[in-house]
Amino acid sequence: MDKIIISAFLLAGSFFILIATIGLVRLKDLYSRLHAATKAPSFGIFLILIGVSVYFNTPMVYIKSLFVVVFIYLTAPLSAHAIIKSFQEKDKDENEKES
């Protein structure tokens, strides 16, 4: 029973990461690409971490997984915000030069 749960979590997590990279390649704009590249990998790594913690099942592993989840969910929106900020500055400069 444990085996089935761990396998399902690992497969679902890697599937979400695959979906995210398909979106990263196929979408047209930088904004939509970043929408695909920020949310789905966080969720995928969250599912994989749940599977790994259930597999090892020791307190240290649970604490480290909690650290990774907190870092990922704190830093993914911040890095996406920084990327979009730099892109918008460049966009604005180019528009001012044209007009």
Binding site: D2, K3, I6, S7, L10, L11, G13, S14, F15, I17, L18, A20, T21, I22, L24, V25, L30, R33, L34, A37, T38, P41, S42, G44, I45, I48, L49, G51, V52, Y55, F56, T58, M60, V61, K64, S65, F67, V68, F71, I72, T75, A76, L78, S79, A80, A82, I83, I84, K85, S86, F87, E89, K90, D93
Partner: protein, 91 residues
């Protein structure tokens, strides 16, 4: 070495992750702007973290969970540093 997880599941997981690494590298190679390349680097860091986690299940060693903590922090610092540099160079 005996596994409690079936090897087929681990091979399918590794193939998914390898396919996503290839796709992220495609976006890294032909991104129109440099911001696309930074986003692809961010995704590549997440894929490598997933690789390390699944590999720790494969060889049954819990010590490998230290690596994703470090990779997440370093990837965040690199992304923000490059983006801030681009912003100040343009502005």
């Amino acid at each position: 070495m005996e596994h409690s997880i079936s090897i087929v599941v681990l091979i399918i997981t590794f193939s998914f992750l390898l396919a996503s690494l290839v796709l992220a590298f495609i976006r890294l190679l032909r991104g129109p702007s440099i911001n696309d390349r930074i986003a692809a680097m961010d995704v590549i860091a997440v894929v490598i973290m997933a690789f390390v986690l699944v590999y720790s299940v494969l060889i049954n060693e819990a010590i490998y969970l230290d690596l994703p903590v470090i990779i997440s922090l370093i990837s965040f610092i690199g992304t923000v540093a490059v983006s801030t540099y681009l912003k100040h160079r343009n502005g």
